[in-house]
């Protein structure tokens, strides 16, 4: 143990032996900076709830640029289309590979019973891919495309959750971290907003829907606790996005201009956009962890038990295979026995013929 070695930025109290493993987080930190982050966000909601705008305003970049004009005919064919778009963001040397998956046509057709299916399938596909990569041989460069967070946009007009919402959220709550949002909150006055949030919270409890909960911070981190409380109060978030920068009081802010006033989207009194952004960005790693430890593991165990257990066909196949193996083993054994016997016979023959020579050999 080299006492004289001075580790970086660590206070050394004289007289105590310093090991040096407290530097580990820094090392990890450096490694992760080098490696970069991967984050996938899924935005689900009816057309016109402002998904594109909100996502763009969370990250302050135009991630989803093409508002593909899906014609009505296609919409009515009840096809839910998922569009992933990837952006690489960098801030102070930290690279984030952000993927936003956009949905089109959700909840807009006449018969919406099949609408949740494509989305669930997409989530499962990502899990599958990761699972396959993990079980593979070369596990160095696994691309993590698993969905870490799902933003569910609820229309401000509806009171509580609609049957379609309930159905979807129940199916998806065990697979992904869900964050419900009240979209287009500029239709609601303050009282109405409070009422809506209450109704939503009540419905979430009533239908037993799993929603992402922020982890409780450490007791000593007061600042974190404060923000945590703030954010917790705002849930479910009421968001209103804007893509248009407007000059307001000298600053250029993202805002919406009405004939009766200008709505500053960043103002935390008016919308919860800031709170949402804070939560997502500050909890990014936590979201990833939960996805990896909880949802992915659930998926994995389900997948493995499924393949080993109940489905009849694979088991039969295995049984058949085992049978074949056993048969082949038996055959092998038989053949071995035969061989052994033959060998014995040969040896005996040899033995039978051998003593004649020995007597002759011994005479000489």
């Amino acid at each position: 143990m080299d006492v004289n070695r001075k580790p970086s930025g660590v206070d050394q109290s004289p007289g105590l032996s310093y090991v040096g493993f407290s530097d580990l987080p820094n090392l990890i930190h450096r490694k992760s900076v080098k490696k970069g982050f991967e984050f996938t966000l899924l935005a689900v909601g009816r057309d016109g709830t402002g998904k594109t705008t909100v996502v763009n305003s969370i990250f302050h970049t135009d991630i989803v640029t093409d508002k593909s004009e899906v014609s009505l005919k296609e919409r009515s064919d009840s096809k839910v289309v998922l569009e992933p778009s990837t952006v690489e963001l960098e801030e102070r040397g930290v690279k984030v590979r952000l993927t936003v998956v956009h949905t089109h046509g959700y909840g807009d057709s006449l018969n919406n019973t099949n609408n949740p299916d494509p989305i669930i399938r997409y989530i499962d596909d990502q899990f599958d891919k990761y699972f396959a990569d993990e079980s593979g041989i070369n596990r160095r460069h696994i691309l993590d495309t698993r969905v870490h967070c799902l933003l569910y946009f609820i229309e401000p007009y509806q009171r509580g959750l609609k049957p379609l919402d309930v159905k979807f959220l129940k199916a998806v709550g065990s697979k992904v971290n869900v964050i419900p949002l009240i979209a287009k909150s500029d239709t609601l006055t303050k009282q109405e907003l409070a009422v809506k949030k209450q109704e939503l919270a009540r419905d979430i409890e009533k239908y037993d829907i799993k929603v992402y909960q922020m982890p409780d911070g450490d007791d000593d981190d007061a600042e974190y606790k404060e923000t945590f409380e703030c954010i917790k109060k705002c849930m479910p978030f009421a968001v209103c996005g804007s893509n248009t920068p407007i000059d307001m009081k000298g600053h250029r802010v993202l805002a919406r201009a009405y004939p009766w006033g200008i709505l500053d989207v960043e103002n935390s009194d008016w919308t919860d956009c800031k709170a949402l952004r804070t939560m997502i960005i500050s909890q990014m790693s936590d979201l990833q962890e939960v996805t990896h430890n909880v949802h992915y593991e659930n998926f994995r165990s389900e997948r493995l038990t499924d393949s080993g257990r109940s489905s009849k066909r694979p088991v039969d196949a295995e049984r058949g295979y085992d049978k074949q193996i056993r048969e082949k083993d038996q055959e092998l054994k038989r053949m071995e026995e035969k061989l052994a016997r033959m060998q014995q016979q040969i040896q005996q023959q040899k033995l039978d013929s051998a003593p004649v020579r020995d007597i002759r050999d011994s005479r000489v």
């Binding site: 018969n111 007009y157 379609l164 200008i262």
Partner: protein
Amino acid sequence: MDRVPVIKHAARLRGRKSYVRRVHHTIRHRPQCFLLPSHPKVETPRGSHLLPFAKMPPAPNGNVVLPSLRRTYQAPTSLNGSSVNAASSGSSSPFTQFGRSNVGHFTHSGSPGPSPSLHSAPSSHAASPAPERAPTSSATLSAVPGKYNGYADLPNQIYRRTVRKGFALNLLVVGETGTGKSTFINSLFSSDIYDGKESLGISNRIGQTIQVEKTRVTLMEKGVQVRLTIVDVPGFGHYVDNSNTWNSVVAYIDKRYHEYLEREMSVKRNLESQLDDRVHCCLYFIAPNGHGLRPLDISAMKALGTKVNVIPVIGRADTLTSDECREFKEKIRRELKEHDIKLYDFPAENDPDADEEDELKPTRNGHSKEPNAKALLPFAVIGSNTFIENKDGRKVRGRKYPWGTVEIDNSDHCDFTVLRRLLLRIHLSDLMDVTDQVHYENYRCEYFNKQNGPNARSTVDGGAAKESQHHQRSPLAQLEAEQKDMDARITRMKTEMQTIFDQKVREKERKLEETEKDLEKKYGNWDRDYEASGSGWSRNAGSTSCKKKALGETFPNLYAILQDELLRSNASDTNSSSGSPSNTAQLGTTMLKKSTKSKKSFLEKNFL
């Protein structure tokens, strides 16, 4: 006489002598009807029964009774002195007096033309209400004689009747939950029709299936009563599977039409006493998502557009900025056109009461001052029935946000005022008319077609069905059909006649054959016998004796008779000269003789 010029004039006007008498008759009562070709247009403001005449120009010859109203009669006092007085002292009925006075007036002037004489009279007359006669009724009515008849009061009569009877307005409000329908209705009629719905919670109202709910209120404004029925569809678009949610709405509308149809077709009907129950207008609320119409909206509006007047409305429009609103409206208009959805057509505006409603400022959509209804479709509305203070300090109806206050009565903010004006103030009667004349008639036609199709022998609807069928077909098609009918009939008749003719011919032929057979039977034997006998009784000379013989054989009796008769005739010839043929036997013999003679001659002729 004096009346002659009048009569002549009237006769010239009418050109009929028979009419003259009538004219003559009526002149007594209403001279002004036929004297003047025109009368000035009288403006009658609404309201009071007595006011209309206040606006009329003062009569130059004093207060004159209008025959239609039987008001106070104020006889022209200083008109032509004595004759008038004589007339006025006469009968109690004002009209005749007036008539006579006028006639008297004619006598005085003696001029042929009626109008100049009338006009000349006023000049001599002081146009003041007669001081010696106090008006018996409170209203002093003045009119130019011969210039006002009272027809102009007819709209007022209808107006009064409508006010007395009241009318019914049925609105259907359709749209997804939360698009602001109830609030809008409350603010439209400035009263809490839907109240406490917030507290109820919509989840309580929405059941397993779509239900149509009716709310009925009676509103009164300025003495006019309206029975307002709002039909709501809670749970529209709420479920996971929303196909055919509009079926229950369409069924409701059809049911109202059906009820009206049955009432109309019944034997004893009281159409006037019962108010109209049919849906006059449907407000379709579109959610302001900014992306266009949803498939549910398209299908529902398509289905409803053919049944009822549909007005598309964007609810909760305070979520859209001006630019977004404009784009959204354009998109919707495009899609409506693309899918060929029938909406209510606002008729061309002629605004009679431009008194209260101001000059319209340019609206949110940057349109010109006049609210061109079609350009503003679909109307972007905001609803609110609570009064708040806006930044000027005024109490307005609106919604208060931290970043500003929306006023619903401000046309810059939304199209609420425009929609209210068009819906309630201007086109209300047109909506009712279109419902009655177009949608209801369509339903009726469809209904009768359905009736006619499956059971063609329905007696009740048969005549009506045919009528409706005829109404439905275009004239050309009708003509063709008739032509075909005629042709068919003609060919049928032809074939019938042909068959009959054939039958008759065949019958005739048969009969002829029979007679031929008979004759052959009768006389054919003769030939055979003759031939059988071989000689005599043939045409040839040699065969006559054969014939005779043959005849003798066939008619042995005849031959015997002939012989006897010959003998007897020879014998009687001698007797006949002496005796008289009184004896019947002798008569008989003479007759027999004659007959035998004739027979003989016949036989000889034919067979010799």
